[in-house]
Symmetry: C2
């Protein structure tokens, strides 16, 4: 397995370069101290320690990243929904930073492919995806400070995933909403979903949605459902005024 | 009462200036948008709203400040105690940001004197001290950004109050430790404690500690015990190597 191979070759020079380049691509900035990111992807099963004998794995970084994520999301929500109560803000934040949601984020970024561990991927449990996502945030904070950390969370969490009406439960499915609206309005809709993995290691799906013969939006994600929701949400925002007034 | 008087005169021009100057003294920087601080000290009992009809009180700022405090303390602990586990960091942070501790911090800064409320101070409950302390942190974040917020928390929380050995329960009383050490070492100690309120509204106490006739440290706080602990802790750090090797 890919996962095991990485452990075996971890000390080679070539692998360090591959890791550095992969981080630069993932982070969309140049890391200063790569060691923080190496730590963020090291599982405790390797029993690594640093030169002071302190444990070298992602668990402490996870604590730090969790706190940074909490404060960035709090600030986002505070500004985004000015009319809602403290209780509402707390509840919305819990939904955004739920274990389930963080695992999904970690999986979508395929962070597991960078993890060095002595445990086979299949046996490591699902929470590792969210845990290393948090650890990565901690590493960014240490390496580049709060503002980079803030930007990373906006780019990777808030912009692509945070959807207030959906989190509020007002909209449970954008696809369902679009279909219902089209039926009511006697519009013809066509949703085309197909596998579109390209060169990536993880299976991906693409979706195109047309209304009355005109293509309105596309989506692409790691599951059919997610890709369809993404495209449907884009259709929703294209017709928001019309949809909300029907 | 002082508290009630402030409500009555809240709209006068003079009071705004008094508030602005008091904030500048408290914050040790010049506030940009005073409205954030006004909000941080407005209790919901006033039922104030802004021009958009949104509630104008400290509750949402408290949510924001709590998150900022959590991330600053997480970062401090991560760097301060490099050898300890994630579980340890979580536990230490809980102690530092406990309701009890935040209430104490808020009281020591006498934040209640700025609060505008329709409820008499005696009936408002003890948690208001910690709540407005958090709201104030939220206001600083909105007004001046993360770095000011970080500095304020260092100056007002971490430097004066955070004491890792004491939080770990290794040292429960610095005064007791100093007395015990002096007795073992056959040193004469003299702890002088006296009321020293000066021009302040709240009662204060000062402490001087001498060992073998030489004054080693002073302390000043809102209770005898706190002032004595503060001075004793300073003595501890002056003789740390000798104390730890006995």
């Amino acid at each position: 397995m890919n996962f095991i191979r990485k452990i075996v070759t971890q000390s080679s020079k070539g692998d360090d370069e591959v890791f550095y380049n992969a981080m630069r691509n993932l982070l969309e900035f140049t890391p200063k101290k790569i060691i923080y990111y190496q730590k963020a992807f090291t599982h405790r099963s390797l029993k690594k320690v640093n030169d002071k004998g302190e444990p070298f794995n992602y668990e402490r970084l996870e604590f730090l990243g969790d706190a940074m994520l909490g404060s960035v999301i709090a600030s986002y929500l505070y500004k985004k929904v000015p009319g809602e109560s403290e209780g509402y803000l707390t509840q919305m934040r819990s939904k955004i930073v739920s274990r389930e949601h963080l695992n999904e984020l970690g999986k979508d970024l395929n962070l597991i492919s960078f993890v060095k561990s002595n445990i086979a991927e299949d046996n490591i449990g699902d929470n590792i995806h969210g845990n290393i996502f948090e650890a990565l945030i901690g590493a960014i904070y240490l390496d580049k400070g709060y503002n980079y950390c803030n930007k990373f969370i906006y780019d990777k969490v808030i912009i692509p995933y945070v959807d207030i009406p959906k989190l509020e439960g007002k909209i449970t499915s954008y696809k369902g909403l679009i279909i219902e609206w089209c039926q009511k309005q006697k519009k013809k809709y066509y949703i085309e979903t197909y596998e579109d993995t390209g060169n990536e290691a993880i299976k991906h799906f693409s979706v195109k949605i047309s209304i009355d013969g005109v293509q309105i939006a596309k989506g692409r994600a790691t599951s059919k459902k997610k890709a369809e929701e993404q495209a449907s949400k884009r259709v929703y925002y294209s017709f928001q005024d019309q949809i909300e007034n029907t």
